[in-house]
Symmetry: C2
Subunit: 321 residues, 2 copies
């Protein structure tokens, strides 16, 4: 469910009056997404997405996110392009929330990842990284390695909601130390998506037709973004690692943006860190999602199992290099 | 949230292969609706809605619902038109559920009802009733007066979930008797929508551009459908009755399908029955919705207050006649 805020007809009509994008034709809530409220919006000039930014997004970061999307779209990346109002500003307010209209992207996100998805994904990720060069503002990764320890500290496994997760939390805390000790000090860096899961990648006729949801994007190691994708795209539902998918993803990335020796060597620790990051936020949400909330809790165990795989990986060969 | 069933890419591709509606361009879940899973589907030939029928809809009723929509659409009603597959059948299966593709309708449902909505609504309702004539199959109203007593009996107000609702349940049970005693034996009848709430009516430039969600439709008194609309469109959020809206709705209906003397006289009891029907289903859902469910419970008290208004109405004048 991704409509947390209702928009009245009058407010919508008034809001659209600030744009030169034609007359309203249709307006529907979109079910996908969990962070913000999204609507598909059709006008006499075409299709758009209206996003109302909900509480997990810091409004102070929005100009950076929208600026990045604008920059990427102008360089040919198939990402949502923010649409400016008549006054030139794309970031506006609606129904008491920060709001923006972006362009509509065709395509379907893969409900089940197949090996054929992974090479186009790798190439698209590398293209995203290269296109981001030249966007001068930076954004520190609020969910980078420095945040994982404090996040795990805030997972209370003594209360009723968290007790069943105590062994998971303990294993994640133990796993964190060697990750932080082995974390690279320097690697090629730039703007990364940081959350490029299958539901954020649209495909059409076997090609990537859209990359969406840039609201975790940050300035960090490029190879960490690749490590997030290895976690999100290459494990099967039984938690086994599909090295065919991994090899396709990595090689297509490497062909478009060659990985350095240091990046390749760092893959196991980066992948372990990425698995821990998603396990930790899922654990936190699991413990802190009130009963009756409109959001489905995701099992942290799934990412703990991925972490174990990466802990056992001795080098880049584990990923198909 | 209205995506209960996920559809895999392969299943969708195979399903669409059974239609001659072009190639897939986009596929998104729709947030609106609570009974079924709905997706917006774009192909190279246009826009469609894909519906997977979930457990509240009896599969045996689906041919009747789809046949009614086909009949109405062919007679100029702006309702979803079922799209037949290559074999001529519109009712198919996908992801283990009964499924159908219908045409996309432009427009926006009113988040806040204004008096200007009510005359177009009344005219559209009358047009719907007239257009339904000639559709020979009938469907008994499973949520008609005969169902209300048994439904209230199944509202357990002795357990923890229902205890707070005991006074509401008692008042509904008391209210039911005079409604059943005064219920008309004969009134002009035909196919009714039976759930024409604002979120099922799209408007565009002040005109009704779409009527959707026919999955409570049945063969029953036309004036009962009008009574449902009076409940759903004419009360303000403080439960006061807006007779300006009511008058606009009724007069526009009456202009297109003149109400008989008997129908006008029956309005108070029909409206009371309609209020009781929605109060009763909301009460049942309130008590029986498990904590943590993905559906927002609706307060039955809202419709109990409407019932009280209708109980105090002495005749058609209360509704603006």
């Amino acid at each position: 469910m991704a409509v947390y805020t209702e928009v009245s007809d009058e407010a919508l009509a008034s809001f659209l009056g600030d744009y030169a994008i034609g007359e309203l034709v249709a307006f529907r809530g979109i079910a996908e997404g969990v962070e913000n409220s999204n609507f598909s919006l059709r006008t006499t000039q075409g299709d758009f997405i209206l996003t109302l930014y909900e509480k997990r997004v810091d409004p102070a970061d929005l100009p950076w996110f929208l600026g990045l999307m604008q920059h990427l779209a102008a360089r040919g990346i198939a990402c949502p392009r923010p649409v400016a109002g008549r006054d030139g500003s794309a970031l506006r307010r609606l129904a008491g929330k920060a709001a923006a209209i972006t362009t509509f992207l065709p395509g379907i996100w893969p409900r089940r990842v197949r090996p054929e998805h992974c090479a186009p994904l790798g190439a698209a990720l590398a293209a995203l990284h290269r296109a981001g060069e030249g966007y001068a503002p930076t954004r520190a990764n609020g969910l980078g390695p420095g945040a994982w320890g404090p996040l795990l500290e805030r997972c209370d496994t003594t209360g009723e909601a968290g007790r069943e997760m105590a062994p998971v939390a303990a294993e994640l805390r133990d796993g964190l130390k060697p990750i932080l000790a082995g974390w690279p000090r320097r690697l090629p860096s730039g703007h990364i998506h940081a959350d490029l899961f299958p539901d954020n990648v649209f495909f059409l006729e076997g090609r990537v037709s859209g990359l969406i949801d840039f609201y975790f994007a940050a300035t960090d190691f490029y190879a960490y973004d690749l490590a997030v994708c290895l976690n999100a795209w290459c494990f099967e539902s039984d938690s086994s690692y599909n090295v065919t998918k991994s090899r396709a993803l990595i090689h297509a990335y490497d062909a478009a943006r060659p990985l350095t020796r240091e990046e390749r060597a760092a893959l196991p620790v980066l992948a372990a860190g990425a698995a821990l990051r998603f396990a930790a936020t899922r654990l936190y949400d699991w413990i802190n999602t009130p009963a009756g909330a409109l959001v489905t809790r995701k099992d942290p165990l799934e990412y703990l199992r991925r972490l174990r795989f990466h802990q056992a990986a001795t080098g880049e060969a584990a990923y198909g290099f």
